[in-house]
Symmetry: C2
Subunit: 382 residues, 2 copies
Amino acid sequence: MRLQSYARAYPSPRESLFVSSAPTVYDVAARSGVSIATVSRVYRNPDSVRAETRERVLTAARALGYVPSGNARGLASRSTGILGLCFPDYSDPDTEATEAEDEDAAMLYSDQIIRGMERAARRHGYALLIAASLKGGPESLVAKVAGRVDGFAALARTVPTEDLEVISRRQPVVMLAGPREGTDHLDHLDHIEVANFDGQKELTRHLIEDHGLRRLAYIGSAEESPDVEARFRGYLEACRDGRLNVGPEPDLRVRMMRQADGARAVDALCAPDRERPEALVFANDQMAVGALHALEKRGLRVPEDMAVTGFDGIPLSRLVRPALTTVHQPMLRMGEEAVELLVKRLSGARDTEPVSLMLPVTVVRRDSCGCGKGEVAHTDIP
Amino acid sequence: MRLQSYARAYPSPRESLFVSSAPTVYDVAARSGVSIATVSRVYRNPDSVRAETRERVLTAARALGYVPSGNARGLASRSTGILGLCFPDYSDPDTEATEAEDEDAAMLYSDQIIRGMERAARRHGYALLIAASLKGGPESLVAKVAGRVDGFAALARTVPTEDLEVISRRQPVVMLAGPREGTDHLDHLDHIEVANFDGQKELTRHLIEDHGLRRLAYIGSAEESPDVEARFRGYLEACRDGRLNVGPEPDLRVRMMRQADGARAVDALCAPDRERPEALVFANDQMAVGALHALEKRGLRVPEDMAVTGFDGIPLSRLVRPALTTVHQPMLRMGEEAVELLVKRLSGARDTEPVSLMLPVTVVRRDSCGCGKGEVAHTDIP
DNA sequence: GTGAAAGCGCTAACAG
DNA sequence: CTGTTAGCGCTTTCAC
């Protein structure tokens, strides 16, 4: 019944740019006079085939332009040698590279994770499949990735939690950055987060104690985000420790946490009818950068008239003027740790207890909080 | 004969962290009382199934924790929705991040391409599979990627040219950065390169005409690299135009073009027994950065005692002191163009003539060539 | 060492 | 709108 294959005519390489159907093990087997099993062996375990036979097969394969189908392989062997990463579409039109030189300034959060994962995956012999969720169905995203990899990492809120729960019953999954919620479901997932609370708390303490600021405003997210909430709680605690008068809610919640939202925050919080804060504490760098621009337009000086801080430590934070005081997250390391966790699960430790890591952050004091011109100080937290 | 599947017992979610065998269409079909074809339709084309039936299937799938197998899908449908990228292991131990803040300084060439491809792939609904060639068999790399994607890009010299030739008969391949050689084979490949020749020529002209330097030294690569050769030819032409006395070979060829090699180049070219050059023209940024360090150790000032230039425009080039004069390559754009080319091929234009793009570069004049402190000038080439 | 045969999980006609 | 029936290309026992 595979005779059709055996009888298939092999068009010369030049017949068309792309040949209608790619050669298979059957073609190679027929041409080299062995069975398909042997062809398979030549690729999976060369030493189990006599040298002469092996050469015959290889020669035929070369002549035919044979490339093993990863899909068929994965299907038959139930493993792919690929790790995956799902992340949300963070792209910010305002941050997109416009001038050539700014390409690297637009590096995001997720790009660092990709770099970290790629590096670690490479060390372990895995390739990396990356997929950003677009506005389309989120269902498709996870399914697409999950169905093609041996294990994967997902940035929090990329994938419906219940989907993750289901998938994690089948393969190793590590959740990135969103603290495990509920503690109830999601019990199969390994989990990595950063010290959002401690970082934001230390940064806020710095503003209050070291710079003597007392009227702070916090700009958070309207979307539910455990990370942002943790940061806000850190901010609150520092405020209370400093005996500042703060409510239980951020002074402002914006929708997307992009540059435009940061600019809008300035409009809202520096309205003429209200007392101007002494410091704008943003839940991320992108907004803070947007605010810097907006403030400049209004003729307000940073940090003299108003201090501004961010969170994340994206490359852009160091390039803007004044350079942004922020809390640096070790995203590269997070990517690496994610791979380590996945690899560990894949190589045996499948039924051990879920792991939960908390990575330390670094408070980076630059100009925008009032720390001396050009001087930079780091404090690792915790 | 699939009865085993139908009869399979479904362990409760808690029975084990990972269930032995994942549910399939057969399980979902059995549980929801439809055929496997219908299950398949629910995922591929939901509207072709009556709403009520669809819900039944979805419910069963959810209960079972069903996730479609990408491998099986790819195998049956002959397409994966994935694009690939193969790149060499560029990592440089000296550039690796040590301090948190330097994570982004370590961004390489290939990272920008990844970013560009990911972004463009996302726009077209593709995911991206990335794999760096490690010292292991190169055979495995291409095969791994090629066998799992609908089309892919390969950085020059990542993959044996003959392999590419073979594979490109089967699926779209675009070659990055290495000029098409021979013109003879490789005729199926689309190809993208940057203006290496013109960029290096303009930079060299700047050194000669604008700064009046006449004793230049070029540091190239021992490995064969069309890109580096093109740069060198640009350098040569500028030198001849300036009536400088230059031989047909670089003053030095180093092995890896890493920071350590740049430092070694300084040792070799600034030896006491020979006349010191006025400018060190490096074939890439990494070496130039290494040279900057070595020069500083020797107590030589840049640019006063010696001008230094690089090529690539990596983020690090702007962060070092003095900031490096270099030629910026639009790697992000190269990644994007690569995806556009692949997508075009995949959506019909399979048999049209191979495309060859030459992307413009930008000469970035910073401090290390003697251009005024802090001032930066750009010139786009061509 | 090599071959035969049975799937892996899904899609894709083609009937009904 | 739904079911039947073939494979997709490879790995994998189990014999020989």
